[in-house]
């Protein structure tokens, strides 16, 4: 068990900078997920922690020890790979015990450790099989088992669920969370799937272009994204970004989206937004916060003619245009909808964000993470 610290870590491949100076403190027993689009440097960061890539600059510490110059085997880490990387010629038992056997552990202890890990993962009856006789989910478990038996300081996961089908992915996600709650080993987990990141992590690190965009709990990332990138990356369907102008109408602030369409800014946000009055900004609002009008909910109402209707079963996604920008909303399937039909929408402005288009940063609102009554959890 150990904490992991990255201090100004840089990685250059020939000319290109894959990781451009990362600072990250991971507490003991914490489950941290690195998430971002492909090429954002998340896997490279993980591989540097593992010792599979050298750091170009900066330092990496595991359990208080600088490990930059240590080979992977001396870092006391275990890694689970995307394609599992099981040794095809060994049985499950041999796969899981390979590292221990290389370290010349006594036979009895190897057996005991493997059996314990097998029990945790429910693969006891597979121990004598070979990898090719296993299903994708079982291979995934064995790969995790190989990590668990080593009892390392840190678990590293490199997109471990990408090769599984959607259903199994959800199942294994729960499995990984359960295992972490049992063994409580510090874990660094890389994925490009924001849902995976949100559901698994104690803290999520959103990366983009070799830099960290934001570090925070899933809740913070969802409710108080710091940059336009994070706001757009977290949540599905993605947040709407609508060019607007912050205007003052009879003393109160409002966002003017188009001629004749101005939505009021909630009064508690007034102090934070007041300095930006009169400027051209971007309104960020999630589809789940634009709904059909509801008798019991307050918000800004407006009417729009619907362009596209996508029924999903439990809800219906609709698209409409606001002054040349496509906007997505999530409405109840009961609403009788057809393309071209006009309908009244309700925007829950307590969940609005304003983004400064120059800096691409979300304007900071103190207390924005407070949960509001009608906020829905993003669907998986």
């Amino acid at each position: 068990m150990a904490q992991v610290t990255l201090n100004k870590v840089v990685k250059k491949f020939d000319q290109t900078e894959a990781v451009r100076g990362i600072d990250l403190d991971i507490a003991d027993q914490e489950f941290v997920v690195l998430v971002g689009p492909s090429g954002c440097g998340k896997s490279t960061t993980l591989r540097m922690i593992a010792g599979l890539e050298e750091t170009t600059a900066g330092e990496i510490m595991i359990g208080g020890q600088i490990v930059n110059d240590l080979p992977p085997k001396d870092r006391d880490i275990a890694m689970v790979f995307q394609n599992y990387a099981l040794y095809p010629h060994m049985t499950v038992f041999e796969n899981m015990s390979f590292g221990l056997r290389l370290k010349k552990f006594p036979k009895a202890e190897i057996k005991q450790r493997v059996e314990r890990a097998a029990r945790i993962l429910d693969i006891t009856e597979l121990l004598e099989r070979r990898p090719r006789q296993l299903s994708g989910g079982q291979r995934q478990r064995v790969a995790m088992g190989r990590a668990i038996v080593r009892n390392p300081k840190v678990f590293l996961f490199d997109e471990p669920l990408s090769n599984l089908d959607a259903k199994l992915r959800v199942q294994m996600r729960t499995e990984i969370k359960k295992v972490h709650q049992q063994v409580r080993t510090t874990t660094v987990y890389v994925t490009h799937d924001q849902v995976e990141a949100m559901t698994l992590a104690d803290r999520v690190v959103v990366m983009n272009g070799g830099r960290i965009e934001q570090i925070g709990t899933p809740h913070e990332l969802y409710h108080a994204p710091k940059t336009r990138f994070v706001a757009g990356f977290i949540g599905s369907p993605t947040m709407n970004f609508i060019p607007c102008r912050l205007v003052e109408v009879t003393g109160a602030l409002g966002v003017q989206l188009a001629e004749g369409l101005t939505l009021p800014v909630p009064s508690e946000r007034d102090p934070a937004y007041r300095p930006y009055a009169g400027r051209a900004l971007v309104l960020g609002i999630r589809p789940e916060h634009i709904t059909e009008t509801r008798a019991y909910a307050a918000g800004a109402e407006f009417a729009m003619s619907v362009d596209v209707v996508e029924p999903m079963g439990m809800e219906t996604i609709v698209y409409f245009m606001v002054d040349g920008t496509e906007v997505c909303a999530r409405v109840t399937p009961e609403a009788a909808l057809a393309p071209g039909k006009r309908m009244r929408f309700l925007a829950d402005m307590r969940h609005m964000h304003l983004i400064d288009p120059q800096s691409e940063r979300v304007i900071d609102v103190p207390g924005a993470t407070r949960v509001h009554g009608t906020a829905r959890v993003p669907a998986a």
């Binding site: 610290t5 201090n7 050298e54 750091t55 600059a57 900066g58 330092e59 600088i66 930059n68 110059d69």
Partner: protein
Amino acid sequence: MSETIPRRLVTPTPAETSGALKGSLYRLSRRRSTTAFLFALPLLSVVGGLIVYPALYAIYLSLLNRTQTKFIGFGNYAFLFTRDTFWAVVEQSCIFALTAVILKALVGIVTAHLVNNLPAKGQRKWRGMLLIPWVIPLSLSTLGWFWLLDPTYSAFNWLFAQIAGPRIPWLSEPNWARFCTILVNVWYGAPFFLIMYLAALKSVPEQLYEAAAIDGASAWQKFLHITLPMMRNVIAITVLFSLIVTFANYDIVRVLTSGGPRNTTHIFATWAFQLGIASGDIPLGASVSLFMFPILGVSAIFILRGVRRRGREV
């Protein structure tokens, strides 16, 4: 690097960082490439000591006189150019290699297609049977041909005699002897083409043929527009490769004709052996064998291009 100073408290200057970085990088790369180099060392010594060095040594030898006591420059080559036998060997080597390779490629393509037409279950059996010539040591199977073509007891001539056909002087008449060396070479080498083409045929995605069938392509058009282009690289590599092997072949001519009658079937390898070992003029033999070099070199360059391309595609 002193570990006594808690490093996190000290902010390294850029110069320090790059210094530390270089040190560790060098150490790591040195450790890794030292192991790698040690692993490759025996190979490098075999290749260097027993292939590259002798090849260069052959060039040096070819510049010496018969007793290897005097440096005579290009004297051996000049001498060869005046000899009719030399030009006959050049001609025969080219005829032998080109004809044999073309025929091998044709027989290989045809048999590969025939085997590929069969139901999948029987293919392995047929492939195994057709591959037998290629597995028997060439000198020993050529001995079988030698016996089949024996001047007195030729089993072929016996067959011809049954239908009152002519008695063919297989190995004693120059053109028949040339034909026989090529025949044996095709017999021996075609199976290699067969397995290469068969493997290549199997790697052509079935959907391409299905798409072509829907587009209305005939069997011949499928072959012309799908099979051939898809196999072009494999065919080229196999042909060039076989060209080298055939050009440098020694076994067939040595066992079948020993170069006769009257040196008409000698090719570079057998004539070089004749001059170098049998007649003891190593420099002259080396000069002859070195004439294989340009052909080998050109083929090798083209093969390499094909292999490189393959590497890029993978």
